[in-house]
């Protein structure tokens, strides 16, 4: 009958708040609040050497920190397991070809490239972590500004890297193909999108799907100790693709709106 405890339908998300450029000393950052779930992502661009098997590409490194502020279970090393699980999921999603244009991160093949260190901080756990994290990562990558560098060759052949003087002269990443995760939790015979903590406690199995803005499914993962019927997996995939597309459109709309406000935008940050 499509009615959940808080009045939402099975495919409705909670109201989300997205803000970028909240951390001033990063190359890009974003904060996403989805109901009670609060995620902060910071991206730092550093110079490094390309990987041996991909000499003309840069790469991304993910690190997820579950802050002890989120739940008492994350105290000390309690949040490490969840953190590594989320980081591995992010690695898997971004390992697919075409999600991020890694060739644009290359400065000198085999010698220099940009490495993007993406740090995810879980401030509050209110259910549906993966979706919020993927939305925040996409927003942070959209906000990332990598300074333009030029490589100068000396007479002896040694290379020098020159940073442009203008701080606003930078390259932006194209995040059109960056996928977002949609979590579908199975409760009883139906499946719901964006489960709250109570709904997650009731669901025995969930399906994590990463969907691009065009509705293409790039990666799938099943979590939970329950089992899923193959029929229901197909249904969940269809729902996930539909929901993923609308998630991408509204995220892109809000990012463009924020961008258009430019310097007139009032930064709310954490003390708002």
């Amino acid at each position: 009958e499509d009615l959940r405890v808080d009045g939402r339908g099975c495919e409705d998300y909670r109201c989300a708040e997205v803000e970028t450029d909240v951390v001033s000393n990063t190359s890009g950052s974003a904060r996403v609040k989805l109901g009670h779930t609060d995620i902060l992502v910071g991206v730092k661009a550093e110079m490094g050497t390309p990987k041996l098997e991909k000499p003309d590409e840069g790469y991304l490194e993910f690190f997820v920190d579950c802050s002890a502020n989120a739940t008492p279970e994350f105290e000390g090393r309690g949040g490490e397991e969840l953190g590594t699980e989320i980081a591995n999921t992010l690695y898997r999603i971004f390992s697919s070809e075409g999600s991020v244009d890694l060739k644009s991160l290359c400065i000198n093949p085999r010698e220099h490239c940009w490495v993007l260190y993406v740090d995810v901080l879980l401030l509050e756990c209110g259910g549906n972590l993966f979706d919020a994290i993927s939305v925040a990562v996409k927003a942070a990558l959209f906000n990332t500004r990598i300074p333009k560098v030029r490589v100068l060759e000396d007479e002896e052949g040694s290379k020098e890297i020159e940073l442009s003087d203008d701080p606003y002269d930078c390259i932006r990443l194209n995040v059109d193909d960056v996928p977002c995760i949609v979590t579908l939790s199975k409760i009883g015979y139906r499946h719901v999108v964006d489960a709250t903590l109570q709904e997650e406690a009731c669901s025995l199995a969930s399906l994590l799907i990463s969907v691009t803005s065009k509705g293409a499914l790039t990666c799938m993962k099943k979590v939970g100790k329950g089992s899923l019927d193959p029929e229901s997996i197909f249904e969940m995939m269809e729902t996930g693709k539909r929901v993923g597309k609308s998630l991408h459109t509204s995220l892109q709309k809000i990012l463009n709106e924020e961008e258009s406000l430019g310097t007139t935008r009032q930064k709310v940050g954490f003390l708002g």
């Binding site: 009615l3 405890v5 009045g7 708040e17 803000e19 708002g272």
Partner: protein, 294 residues
């Protein structure tokens, strides 16, 4: 069609219009001096140090003749005899159940404080002990009354009445205990079609009104029939209204919940949780409550 609403964050407005108040509340933080006058008796939330009365919690100072106490906004539940609580069974022990009621220590429900089915009055035997798990298991929700408070602050509950017992299908909302107003009765049948139990410990239980009053003693059998959609809509709406009232820090009692429900009728159930709709509804509720008083 799936609906995903995203928005840019808006800075919160500092302290909205609160209407005419008698006097400004004296707000204190832990460590603040309340008074240096030694003639006052100290109540909850205060302690005496160096001949000064100092607050130990953050909240508003309440003065009743010579008694000074500090009422905190967000606390754990402190049991008082006669309070109605809604709790969840966490453990089944030898002759008692441990109940979680959002207080500092788990509350206790003794087997001897529980009504036997059929209303018999007899000494509990070893068979009753073994059958404890048939009555209440871990994870069950119960409504009970506080019988007594132990010296360490733990609360002892009893369900010696037909209106207490195991709760069936419904929705639980957890709020701070200080937001539940103390009233004569905490069991309300709202005219909109649902019933609500306002536990003093901050657990609020919303459930569909049973058609006929069950004569079974103790209320141990749970009705697991599917709840019709209309009832579920009313319950979801009530749940969202209560969440809205709590976010705006309004006291919860049957009239405020009812006014909030009526103010929310023009909106869709899922829209009530949007910040601007929440503010609008609670403002209207506040207005009506002030009109009722004045």
């Amino acid at each position: 069609m799936a609906a995903v609403a995203m928005r840019l964050p808006v800075a919160r407005k500092a302290g909205g219009p609160s209407g005419p108040r008698g006097s400004e509340k004296h707000l204190v933080a832990p460590g603040d001096t309340i008074t240096t006058d030694t003639g006052y008796m100290r109540g909850h939330g205060t302690y005496v140090a160096e001949e000064r009365l100092i607050a130990s919690v953050a909240g508003a100072v309440e003065r009743v003749n010579k008694l000074v106490c500090v009422k905190a906004l967000k606390t754990r539940y402190n049991g008082e005899v006669g309070d109605i609580v809604v709790g969840r069974i966490t453990e089944v022990q030898q002759k008692r159940w441990k109940v979680e009621t959002n207080s500092r220590l788990d509350s206790v429900l003794l087997l001897s404080s529980m009504n036997l089915p059929g209303g018999e009055l007899r000494r509990r035997s070893a068979e009753d002990e073994l059958a404890m798990r048939d009555y209440l298991q871990e994870g069950d929700l119960i409504s009970a009354e506080v019988q007594s408070v132990f010296s360490d602050g733990a609360v002892s509950l009893h369900t010696r009445s037909l209106k207490y017992g195991k709760l069936g299908q419904g929705v639980l909302v957890q709020v701070s205990p200080s937001l539940v107003k103390r009233q004569k009765t905490h069991f309300h049948d709202l005219p909109c079609g649902a019933s609500v139990i306002l536990g003093n410990n901050g657990f609020i239980w919303i459930y569909p009104t049973p058609e006929q009053k069950d004569e079974e003693a103790g209320g141990f059998t749970t009705n697991l029939e599917p709840v019709p959609l209309s009832d579920r809509e009313v319950i979801s709406r009530l749940r969202n209204c209560i969440v809205a009232l709590v976010t705006q820090k309004l006291m919860l009692f049957d009239t405020s919940i009812l006014y909030c429900y009526e103010a929310s009728l023009p909106h869709q159930i899922k829209d009530i949780l949007k910040p601007e709709v929440m503010e609008e509804i609670v403002l209207e509720t506040r207005q009506r409550l002030l009109d009722l008083e004045g």
